[in-house]
């Protein structure tokens, strides 16, 4: 690694290499080395994330809603109730105030809707051309409601997702209009606290929100040397529109980003109750059991195909590029 490439930010193997070679080298062992979505201190969770999405407004959301829900969801995935948030804005000289107002309102609406309070913040203005409109960093703080950990996952646990995958990544591609395709696909960007809260009473073992790198990246991050995950190809919820656009561009929907999808590991006893609870919420109406923790493959994610065979689902490498050939 001599130069940072865009694929180092894609959430796949190259991102992992960057974290290990640069960051863990300097910070070493400790809470950070877990490379979790957030960290635990006392009975609280803290999670930080930066948002640099281009374009700033896209079907289904904008950078404000994304910055709010992204950090909320990271806190929720640690089994915590989100309480407070900080936000830092880096704004490009010349940026329209009306757009900034829209973005800030969108961030505010999202956190207020679940009672999260913005308690500190920062703004910086940089010269024209030094950033792309607006970048936002948010930090979410929450109180632990349920202790979750990857160590609590056991073979036989089931893997549940709350709905259709790959919508956010494609909505961004559409908004950039790079490949001349139009479609009604909207980003799934949303806060997941109201969806997950009632499910925390159940025997949930672990959760992760499947963002950049998609479902494939998240599952490959959690598999351990003692067990693997088997997905069911025909159970993974995907809208027809998303399937179609992925076919057109040669993209694997399992590797495309989401911004409102929680992957939940649950005991077999509670899986039906979980699905029932999730489906009551608009953000969970397409919830499905998509796979199972197995011990006949270890350290790997595999997918049971419609043909009845198994294929390996690998960690995506970098940013998904359309394949024509």
């Amino acid at each position: 690694m001599d130069k940072i490439l865009l694929s180092h930010g894609g959430g796949g193997k190259k991102t992992q290499a960057l974290l290990k070679e640069v960051f863990l080298q300097s910070f070493g062992a400790g809470e950070l080395s877990k490379l979790d979505d957030g960290a635990i201190f006392d009975s609280y969770v803290i999670s930080t994330d930066s948002y640099v999405v281009n374009p700033l407004f896209f079907p289904g959301g904008d950078i404000g809603k994304l910055a709010a829900s992204g950090s909320i969801n990271d806190v929720v995935s640690m089994g915590a109730e989100p309480l407070y948030m900080s936000a830092g804005f880096i704004i490009e000289e010349g940026f329209p105030v009306s757009d900034l107002k829209r973005i800030v309102k969108s961030l505010a609406d999202t956190i207020k809707s679940i009672g999260v309070e913005l308690i500190t913040g920062d703004t910086k203005v940089v010269e024209k051309g030094k950033c792309d409109g607006v970048y936002i960093n948010t930090t979410g703080i929450g109180r632990i409601v349920k202790e979750l950990s990857v160590e609590r996952i056991r073979p036989g646990n089931l893997v549940v997702i709350n709905g259709n995958i790959a919508e956010h990544g494609l909505s961004i591609l559409l908004a950039r209009n790079e490949y001349g395709i139009s479609s009604g696909i909207k980003s799934d960007c949303m806060e997941l606290w109201t969806l997950i809260r009632p499910a925390l009473e159940l025997d949930i073992r672990f959760m992760r929100d499947a963002t950049r790198g998609g479902l494939a990246a998240v599952l490959n991050e959690v598999v351990s040397s003692d067990w693997g995950i088997e997905l069911y190809q025909d159970k993974i919820p995907i809208s027809e529109e998303v399937k179609g656009m992925c076919e057109m561009l040669g993209l694997d929907p399992l590797t495309v980003a989401n911004e409102g999808k929680m992957v939940i590991f649950v005991s077999e006893d509670d899986v039906e109750k979980l699905i029932e609870i999730l489906r009551k919420h608009p953000g969970g109406k397409d919830a499905e059991v998509i796979g199972r923790v197995v011990d006949d493959v270890k350290g790997r994610v595999v997918e049971k195909t419609v043909v009845g065979t198994r294929r390996i689902v690998d960690m995506p490498v970098g940013e998904g590029l359309p394949r024509i050939c």
Binding site: K14, G180, P322
Partner: protein, 360 residues
Amino acid sequence: MKFVDEFRDSTVIRELVEKLQNFSFATPVNIMEVCGTHTVSIHRFGLHRVLPENVKHVSGPGCPVCVTPNEYLDMAIALARMEGFVITTFGDMMRVPGSRSSLEKENASGADIRVVYSPMDALKMAENEKDRTFVFLAVGFETTAPGIAATVKEAKKLGLKNFYILPGNKTMPQALKALIDDPEVKIDGFLLPGHVSTIVGSNEYRFIPEDYGIPCAVSGFEPADILMGFISILRQIKEGKPSVENTYLRSVRPEGNIVAKAIMKEVFVPCDSEWRGIGVIPDSGLDLAPDYMDFDIRRKVEIEIEEPVEYPGCRCGEVLKGLVLPPECPLFGKVCTPENPVGACMVSSEGSCSAYYKYG
């Protein structure tokens, strides 16, 4: 998805798998597929795992990115570094390692490299930005070449002076012939590429059964299509009656797409072409015809590159000929991985090494 979902239907697939598994062979049978999209589809659906005992699927030189020699990429990279140049390319080429760099790395260093869905998109960019020189990386087989030909023709009609291609297209039948003529290679049946065949027509391959006695089946890309292709080949082997059978009825005609072939013939002329790992195959490449030569960037600027280098130990060549499976290469999964590819078969998502690594 019309014409897609029904060919992925589990009942149809089960019936075909059962049929396929009814075949049995006492001696090894090698079926080669020569299309990257077949490679991906076979691995994505695990179709190589339902073949009867003794029947092996091997991936031939069917991924255009994989067979593109380092020298071509080195030239593309040299062009990307030139002042005022924009490289336009299919996404597949971005991460392919040249001798010393890749387009992705050049992009990070400030070169203007744009991924396009269609060569026509590159043409439109050139029309809109007349102060920059656009080069489209013309790679791909007969499926892709006619579209590139039509784009060059349009550029000529529009009188565009800032749109060029770097010719690198290749043609499949000549490569198949070279492969069969290689005494090392032993193939018992070819699964022929559905979309190349859509253009060239199924008649184009009749020399394979007629001159060499090898069974062929033209196949589409959904699981049911590929299974039908496998069944057709195995049945022909059993019956000892090799021919070219078409199982991709909805898209492939015996004569192919006549308009597309005519445009290709007008704009391109055959040339000798180097295939990575295989070497130079006579008449297997496409250069611009005299009337369109002005669109060849190599005639407009001098492209200086250092001597191309290949990584020692890389067995891409033997993989492409179906002599070894990817895991048999000493670099596979160790030095050579999708995030750090050595050979092109690993970098392209259609490459057989990449498909083996990713899907198993």
